[in-house]
């Protein structure tokens, strides 16, 4: 269910983007209609429509009139590129700050990452 504390339409949009990134939704695949989405998650259809409109504006989805909404072909690549940009600022930097706050030497962090790279974890 949705967290009532942040705009629901943004949460929906984020969820769909996550599905596109993970491959749960593939290029040119049709997504649920706003009404289906609304009924399934028990939200107002206007909210679902707003989320979809935002995704259309961001070119993650496109609309085929009379049929429905589809994942755009370039969505996954685009989201990955965007993800790259935010990854370092929103994931890596905070992780480094946290490691420092706890007192973990960055060398240990790097070693752990290398273990992932070698498939040892």
């Amino acid at each position: 269910m949705f967290d009532d504390r942040s705009p629901i339409y943004r949460q929906i949009a984020d969820r769909i983007k996550a599905d596109v990134l993970s491959g749960a939704l593939t290029a040119d695949e049709q997504v649920m209609s706003t009404n289906q989405y609304a009924a399934y998650y028990r939200i107002n259809p206007a909210t679902a429509a707003k989320a979809f409109q935002q995704l259309v504006d961001e070119k993650v989805l496109y609309k085929k009139r009379g049929i429905g909404m589809f994942v755009s072909t370039e969505a996954r690549d685009m989201l990955r590129a965007q993800g790259r940009e935010t990854f370092f600022g929103e994931v890596v930097d905070p992780m480094v700050a946290e490691a420092r706050a706890i007192g973990i030497p960055l060398d240990d962090v790097i070693r752990r990452i290398e273990q992932h790279q070698n498939g040892a974890v």
């Binding site: 009532d4 339409y9 609304a38 009924a39 028990r42 939200i43 107002n44 259809p45 909210t47």
Partner: protein
């Protein structure tokens, strides 16, 4: 369906339940009418349904409601005790009134809903439990398919599964047959995701009317070191403050511009959203106190 309320005042003797209220609703949406006990919700809805003659103007699609057949036809108000039922009437008989007197009534749907809510058609309205009476009200409200349908605390007495069944039925029927629906409720967090627009009233007055998402975006909870929080929130509208040691959490109301967001990050403050229910609590009068 357009609802226009202008300068509405409702008095019961010396008590003023609605005080010079004006607002408009347009478009088929699910509206939340939020207000504390005694805020005037029921009085407002009664006037919209033509139950009372208003002082001030109340119009549906530009036509005054009271004693106007064309307008009153289009409204259905249900409360947790079905107004459209006599204590001695059987449920089946109660539904027959609707079928006989409402042009938009869908009887098959009414029977489906009665079954969904496990209402025995043979039971007398007066013998139903509070939750069942509320359910009967919901059946009448939804099956009426009225262009303006209002549910006044229709969840009263319902257990959680029944409430969820109500929300699902409401949402699905709204999508299948779009109309103007006003829901007044205390259980705001349960209903919040269904609402497109909210109207908050307090002490008989309109506090605000806004799209639910826009309202949510105006609330921020600022958490961090007390001195930093105070510096940040200076000049903003503060809804509430909580302190624990040197940490402080302050709820503020109003959109924060980019400059403010950057400042928050600089100060190391955490900015979080506020749930609709919490916004409502803080935007309306404190219990037993003066704002």
């Amino acid at each position: 369906m357009r609802v226009d309320v202008q300068g509405l005042t409702v008095r019961y003797g010396s008590v003023t339940a609605v005080d010079d209220m004006s607002f408009s609703l347009s478009g088929n949406k699910i509206y939340g009418l939020l207000g504390r006990n005694g805020s005037g919700k029921t009085s407002l809805m009664s006037v919209l349904a033509g139950y009372r003659k208003p002082a001030g103007s109340v119009e549906l699609d530009g036509v005054p409601v009271f004693e106007n057949a064309a307008a009153m036809r289009q409204v259905c108000l249900v409360r947790h005790t079905p107004d459209a039922a006599d204590k001695g009437d059987k449920v089946s008989y109660v539904l027959e009134y609707g079928a006989a007197w409402r042009e938009t009534w869908d009887n098959d749907y009414a029977l489906e809903l009665a079954e969904l809510f496990k209402l025995s058609l043979k039971a007398k309205a007066g013998e139903l439990s509070l939750g069942q009476r509320s359910a009967l009200g919901v059946v009448i409200g939804l099956a009426s398919r009225s262009p303006l349908t209002m549910f006044d605390e229709s969840h009263l007495g319902m257990d959680t599964p029944t409430r969820y069944a109500f929300y699902d039925a409401l949402l699905n029927d709204f999508m299948a047959h779009p109309r103007t629906i006003i829901v007044s409720t205390h259980l705001i967090e349960e209903l919040a995701s269904l609402l497109e627009e909210v109207v908050i009233i307090d002490g008989g007055r309109l506090v605000l009317q806004e799209e639910a998402d826009v309202l949510r975006s105006r609330g921020t909870e600022v958490t961090g070191n007390a001195a930093d929080v105070d510096e940040f929130t200076a000049g903003l509208t503060v809804l509430s403050e909580k302190s624990l040691g040197r940490t402080k959490a302050t709820m503020v109301y109003g959109t924060l511009d980019d400059a403010r967001l950057i400042r928050a990050r600089q100060l190391g403050l955490e900015l979080g959203p506020i749930a609709l229910q919490d916004l409502f609590v803080h935007l309306t009068a404190t219990v037993g106190g003066v704002r």
